[in-house]
Amino acid sequence: MVIPDFVLNAPLAMQVTPADWPGGYWWHWLFFTIIIIAFVLIMVMGVIYIERRGMGRMQSRLGPNRTGPFGLLQPVADAIKVLLKENIVPATADKVVHWLAPIIAFSPVLMIFAVIPFQNGALLADLNIGILYIIAVSSVATVGVFMAGWGSSNKYSLLGAMRNVAAIVSYEIPLALTIVGVIIFSGSLSMNQIVVAQDIPYILVQPLGFLLFFIAASAEINRSPFDLMEADSELTAGFHTEYSGMKFAMFYLVEYAEAIAMSAIITTLFLSGWRGPFLPPWLWFLIKTLVVFFVMVWTRTTLPRVRIDQLMALAWKFLFPLALVNLFITAIEVIFWPDISQWIFVGVNIVIAALLVILWSKLFKIGWGRLEV
C-alpha cells in the first residue's frame, strides 16, 4: 500500500490537510468546524422531520403537518418550545455531574464528524486511524450517559444508564469486529482511503458484516428496537428522566446526531461514501446517509422493543460469533485470493451470509422462553 506523501511529511498526524488546500491549516479547521456544526444541526432538524413523517405514514397516520408547509417547521417549533422551558434540577441531584452530563454526551458526537469525508478529501482531519478514532470517541458518550443517570439521583435514570452501559459495552465488540472486516478489504483505517478503495460498495462484498454492523449500530445509539435504555413504558425516559429545558434538548440532539453519525459511518464504510455517478459527491453522500437513516426509521416502526436479556443474548450469542466467523472468512479470502476480482467474493459472501444466518437462527432462538444472561 502506498502512503501519500503529505501524510508522511506532516509533523503530526492531526495536522493532515489536503496538499492543495488554500490558506493553510487554521482556515481549513475553521471552515470544516463551521460546516460540521451547521451540518449536524440542520440534519438533526431534517431527520426529526423525516422520522416523524415517515413513522406517521407507516403507521397510517400523517405525522406533523400543521406548522409551516407540510409541517416542515415542526422541529423548529419543538426546539423553540424546549429551549424556553424551565430548567429543573432535582433537589438531591449531584449538581455538577447533572450539569456536565449533556455536554459530555454531546461533544463526542460532534467529534465523530471530524473524520467523515463529505467528498473526496473534504473532511476536517484525514486521520490515518480514522475509524479507530470513531470507535474510541463514541465510547466516551457512555460516560456522559452514565453521568446523567447517576447525577439525577433517580432510580429509573440509574437503571436506564446501567442498561445503556451494558448494551454499549457488549455491542461495541461485534461493531469493532465487523469494521475489521471492512478494513481488511480496504487496507486502511482512514475513512477517505476506505471510500477510495471501494470500487464495489462493501455492502455487497461484506453482506453479513453490513447486517451485523447495522444491528450493532442501532443498539449502540439506542435506536428502536434496542431503545430499552430509554424505554418510555418501563423507565419513563431512562437516563434523561430528570432533564428538562435546554439540557433535555441536548440529549435529544445527541440522540439524533448519533443516528446521523451512524448513518454517515455506514454510508462511508459500506455504501462507498461520496462515490457515485452523475451527481456531485457531497450530494451522493447526503442521499446515502438519508437512505440509511430511513432504513433505521423503517426498522423502528416495524419491530417491537426487545427485553434486556434478549438484548444481551443477541449481542453475545448471535452477533459476536457471526462477526468472528465473518472476520475469519474475510481474512482467508484476502490472504489466499488477493488478486482475483472482488465480484467473485460478492457472490460467495452473499451465499455464505445467508447460510450462516439461517444456520445460526437454527442454533439460536431468541423467542425461546426466557434466556439466562
Binding site: M1, I3, V7, L8, A10, P11, L12, A13, M14, D94, V96, V97, L127, N128, I129, L132, Y133, I135, A136, V137, S139, V140, T142, V143, F146, M147, W150, L158, M162, V165, V169, E172, L189
Partner: protein, 164 residues
Amino acid sequence: MGLEFAFWIMAVVMVGAAFAVLYLRNVFHAALALVLCFIAVAGIYVTLSADFLAAVQILVYVGAISVLIILGVMMTREVQKGNPVNKMRLPAAIVAVVLLGILVYVVTSTPWGISTQDPLTPTTMPLATKLFSENGFILPVEIGAVLLLAAILGAIVIIREKKK
C-alpha cells in the same frame, strides 16, 4: 510552540485529575476524575506522535476500564462513605516523595541518547508489522490473548454465585 502549550495543558490536567482521584470525597466523582486523567494521558500520547496508541488509550481506558470501575463503584455501594485513609499516610508520603526525588534525579542526570530522527508518524502500519510479523512480537501477542482469556475465565469463576 503549539506542542509545548498542549503538553503543559495536558500535564496540568493530568496531575490535577490524579490528585482529584486521591482527594475527592465522593468515589463516583473520583472515577470521573480518573476518566479525565485517562483522556489527558491520551493527549500526551498525541503530543508524542503516538496517535494509534492515543485512540487505543481512549478506547480501552475510557471506554472499557473506567466503565468497569464505575460499575464496580455502583455495585459496592460505598459511594457515600467517602474516601478514607489508613494509618500508613505519613510513611507512604515519605516513600512516594523519596521515590519521586530519586526518579527525578536519575532522569535529569542521565545523558539520554536522544535520536535526531523525526518520529514515525503514521504508526498504524509499522505497529502492525512489528506486532504480527515473523520476527516481531507475535508470541507475546498470543500470550496476551491467552492472558485475557484466562482473566475473563478467572473473573467469571471468582464472581459467580454458588448455586445451592
